[in-house]
């Protein structure tokens, strides 16, 4: 389905507004996320960046009383089409959370969870997927001889990489990362940032981050949000060196966070 040349509007958010009950959290957001690039959402707490991220794989459906206007398209397919089955959507869009949350199972079972729930249980296929995903998450060498031990035996950074391996096991097209390094030490953070540069060759990555340095290091394009509105979306270096909007400038200069 994906064209040979990367789609510049692989994820297209089109005049999207979102309400949690009576409270409006996103105001008329329109942005394009290019294929096979890393796009960062930055902004102060409560600006709606995580909410927008969670809408891309419709995780917000879990909350009661939500309302939305506008649409989000992935590869020209609307997410809110009545024919869309949320479960198959989530197989195409993987997510990594702020606090690493491996299942209370073995490392092997953690990685292939998405395959098992899809009904694919062939042992050869599973072994192959495990190795490929763990290599893709730069974790294979560290765990290859303890695949059937509990996932809780790993360190924090390793567990987060395990969650990344789990998210990419099904070869999704998009990888959403919600502050993936927030709970990690600097060494582990660096490892994951290096990993993202590898991953973007195959996946479209959207990352929400509080850490502007991280956005500068990793992201190709950066979007700045404030109070539920998209203020500015530009290539990262441009946004940080010559921000157009005064609010963006105040934020990147550290005047508020």
């Amino acid at each position: 389905m994906s064209p040979v040349t990367p789609n510049p509007a692989f994820i297209k958010v089109d005049h999207f507004s979102f309400w949690y009950g009576p409270k409006q959290v996103l105001h008329d957001i329109s942005l394009d996320v290019p294929e096979k690039e890393i796009t960062a959402f930055i902004g102060p707490s409560g600006c709606g960046k995580t909410t927008l991220l969670r809408n891309i794989n419709r995780m917000n459906d879990l909350v009661d009383g939500i309302k939305h206007k506008g649409d989000i398209y992935i590869d020209e397919q609307s997410l809110y089409d009545p024919n869309v089955e949320v479960i198959s959507l989530r197989k195409r869009v993987g997510m990594v959370f702020q606090k690493y949350n491996p299942f209370p199972k073995s490392i092997y079972e953690n990685v292939i969870f998405s395959l098992r729930v899809a009904g694919r249980n062939g042992k050869n296929e599973l072994d192959e997927v495990v190795e490929k995903s763990l290599r893709g998450a730069a974790l294979w060498d560290e765990v290859k001889d303890k695949l059937h031990e509990s996932a809780f035996g790993l360190s924090g950074g390793q567990q987060q990489r395990l969650c990344i391996a789990r998210a990419i096991a099904n070869r999704p097209q998009i990888l959403l990362m919600d502050e993936p390094c927030a709970a990690l030490d600097p060494v582990a953070t660096l490892k994951i940032e290096e990993l993202m540069h590898e991953l973007k060759k195959e996946f479209t990555i959207v990352i929400v981050t509080h850490n502007m340095e991280q956005a500068k290091r990793c992201a190709d394009r950066t979007a700045f949000f404030y109070l539920g509105k998209l203020i500015e979306l530009r290539p990262t270096l441009d946004l940080f060196s010559t921000p157009k909007d005064p609010q963006t400038e105040a934020y990147v200069r550290g005047k508020f966070s």
Binding site: N57, M59, D61, L62, K67, H68, K69, Y80, P82, V84, I87, S88, R90, K91, G94, M95, F97, K99, N101, P102, F103, P104, F113, S114, R116, V117, A118, S150, F152, C163, R166, A167, N170
Partner: protein, 606 residues
Amino acid sequence: MSQATFQQPTRTKGEVKVWLTAAGLTVGLIMISGLLVLIAMNGLSVFWPDRVAVYTIKEGDKETRIAGSLVKTQQRRKPDGTFATEYQIFTGNKDAYNLAFRYINEADVIARSDVSGIYVAERMEYGDSVFTPVALQLADGHKITGEDAVFKSEFARLVKEGNKRRDTILKIEKNQIGDINARMKRLEIRSRTEDVKTEIAEEQARYQTLANEAQKLRAAQTADKLIYKLASGEERTQNVGDILHFYQPNDIGIFGQTGVFLHAIWDFLLAEPREANTEGGIFPAIFGTFVMTILMAVMVTPFGIIAAIYLREYARQGLMVQIVRICVNNLAGVPSIVFGVFGLGFFVYGVGGFIDGGVQYPIAPAWWFAAGFGALASIGTAVYLSTHNRTAIPTQQKRQKLLQKVEGTLWIISVFLIILTIARCPYFHGFFSDSLPTPTFGTGGILWASLTLALMTLPVVIVATEEALVAVPRGVREAALACGASKWQTIQRIVLPSALPGVMTGVILAMARGAGEVAPLMITGVVKLAPSLPLDLSWPFIHAERKFMHLGFHIYDLGFQSPDSEGAKPMVFATTLLLILLVVAMNLAAIQIRTRLRRKYQASAF
């Protein structure tokens, strides 16, 4: 800032509350251990073989001698205000004295002597006997006197033979003749429609041979006789075949006494009861309690888990769900006898009567087909709506809500129609109508008793499971959903395994409560003496319609319903001890399972 603020305060505020909690715990522990020690001492002392003494006492102006072991010494208040000591002596020989225990005043005792050569024998009827042997009268005419060197070994040999013969008689009568009886019953039912005369004759011939064999063995049991003398000098005769076990209380050392002690406990645990449950063992009661508790746990766990999953995960958390939850919690406070009455009415007479005899008030076939068809149609439509009524488009959400209401109504209608189809079917005449009017399932039995108790302990399991489900962290659920799992897959693969330790806690509590309840059992299937066990080696191995014995009921029956309350008192304590140990054992097993589960799923908060 003064120096004083940097010093350690001499009395830290709040520490007194630590002492208070420790004191509370200590009081509780002392009470529990005190109770256990009391029961253990009273219960185990029953089995210990006491020394027997011969007392010469004044009876009126005559002197008599009685032999027995001292059970209790107590002070009795005399009319003039002073106290007199009296002894309770276990004399045995209920057939000679009408009572096994006797009270004698200390003042009446002239002499007391420890005599050797006294025997205590456990008998099939009238309990134990305390005697001095005179002679053994064998079937072939031999006579071996009590002083003879070979007396004891011959006596032991004959008693062993008698025990073996008794087991064979039991096997013949209970198992083989029992099988013949079962086959005869089936043949009798068949004989109403077919000609089975030859087969009936065959069975009767088989019965005759077995009956003859049993008869011969029974005769052999009465062939050898023991002539013995009581302490008063009276001579009596006893069939050796009716003696189970004997020992010499005054002539065995500490090892001998321990041997008799262990033998008595072994017998208690594994033998069948005799003499209106005052003698013999209580194995059927142990077995019945165990089977019933396991059956109850097996039935309550799936229902509790499913109900809790629906209440917590699927139901919309509004007023209806709150009301349901309050009702479930209140169910835990209903007195158990009310559950018993409900079990009797609904399970025993209602469902049991339905299984036995079929439908009492059928509806016309045409209406029945309509009801059945209607049930299928409405279930089909409801299922279709539940899977296809999905939309994220805001304009269609009103329609979605309307269809949801329709779906709900259809579910209710389906349930009603299904019950109607089953309960009013004109073609169902019961599975056991041949045996009517003798009820099979329409009377109390282990199945209905277990179901009633399962219902009673359901709230405990539901509450514990709900708490365990809530304790599963949200992050793990979200991760599962983000991996493309459906809600049910998340519950089945992630949430439920993590919640299992908490569920086990609920099951442990349910078992503890259920094993101790007696009132509902009394009306739904427990009996004083059950002819057979609910689980045995004859097809279909699990006899869910049989009545059973239960330790709790046994205690009540022994304590309040037996003709000889003094004789039964030791058994009451021993049975209480056993019931406590059984519940502790089952709880420990369940705790072990829970610990193993907890280690596997560290993430769980329980």
